[in-house]
Amino acid sequence: MSVATAAGSVSVGIGGLTVRLLCADARFLRLVRNRYAGFTGDWAHADCEFTVDVTTPRLASAESDDLRVEFDAGRWVITRGDFRAEFDSFTRRGRIRQALNPYAIDSILRIVHTLVLAESGEGFLLHSASAVRGGRAFCFAGVSGAGKTTITRLAPPDVTLLTDEISYVRRQSGTYWAFGTPFAGELGVPGDNVKAPLAAVYLLSHAPANRIEPVAPAEAAEALLRNILFFAADHGLVGRVFSAACDAAEAVPVRRLAFVPDARVWELMS
């Protein structure tokens, strides 16, 4: 993740993909800089660009609160009560109309990344915590309450947190990498701006003793599919997400991690 600023613009980079936001409202630029601070962007090489119009909350809230992600005449149209975003999938330029709140741009960024990753077939956002230890990245997937935030809170000092909520997994040159993201869960702390080769994905559950069990490849792919974030009802892209999950399940070890909620669980990742 990276942020670089210029007059009337701010660039946000996550997972090696940079989104440039152009806006005349200094409050919005300040909001984005603060929310995604601590990362360095590449201003000259933005992968996507949006012009942002900041609207009043009253006008925005007149729309439906349901999230809709639809493809229409070459453009993605993403709408929710507090924003509307249009995005040309070919030029990768678009327009955002949103209220002045951080949740709107956070959601838009997540969705844009899921679309770009799905189109490339090279990765996905995974509902999981992730962290780096000893130069290797580990994802910890599970439903709410399975222990994603708990396991990040228990991490010893030599562990680098990538996220406690939404992991960024991308294949580059045949290797799967996990990237740090600013998308925080209960921990409320963004991940660090680092990446590392993905060594394993653990499916979390609580248990009276720590243990790791193997997961069959088809079950692994099914588990990844359950935890991949994807919002668009687009048949072609759903097929690509399916393929991306199967590819990852064949390349990255997926295991079941039943753990006692104390620091000893990290001994299994040393």
Binding site: P217, A221, L225, V238, G239, F242, S243
Partner: protein, 106 residues
């Protein structure tokens, strides 16, 4: 459904053989099935060019220790279940190969 029906894979399906099991997903509603053993063998044979009874005879009865009547019944039940979810297409005539790719690829 007739045992002489022709069965092909819906174009709205993504499928992949992984770890000896066939992962099958509807791209319309993301419903996921995992087929193993003879179900996976049958799925790979559903190209719409041969009647179900012939597929069962050649791919199941000839290779597994199972009687033809029982195998046909099981195959018909599988096809009916997957067709009801839109994953398979049943026809009374061969498809001439225009439908029925066995796996969706981007």
């Amino acid at each position: 459904m007739s045992r002489n029906a022709y069965v092909s894979v819906s174009p709205d399906v993504a499928a992949r053989m992984i770890g000896g099991e066939m992962m099958v997903m509807s791209v319309r509603d993301s419903t996921l099935f995992v087929l193993n053993g003879t179900a996976a063998v049958l799925w790979e044979s559903f190209d719409g060019t041969a009647p179900l009874a012939q597929i069962v005879s050649r791919r199941i009865c000839a290779e597994y220790d199972i009687g033809e009547d029982e195998a046909i019944r099981d195959a018909e039940a599988l096809v009916a279940q997957l067709a009801s979810r839109g994953l398979l297409v049943i026809s009374e005539s061969p498809s001439a190969g225009e439908v029925g790719t066995n796996s969706w690829r981007p």
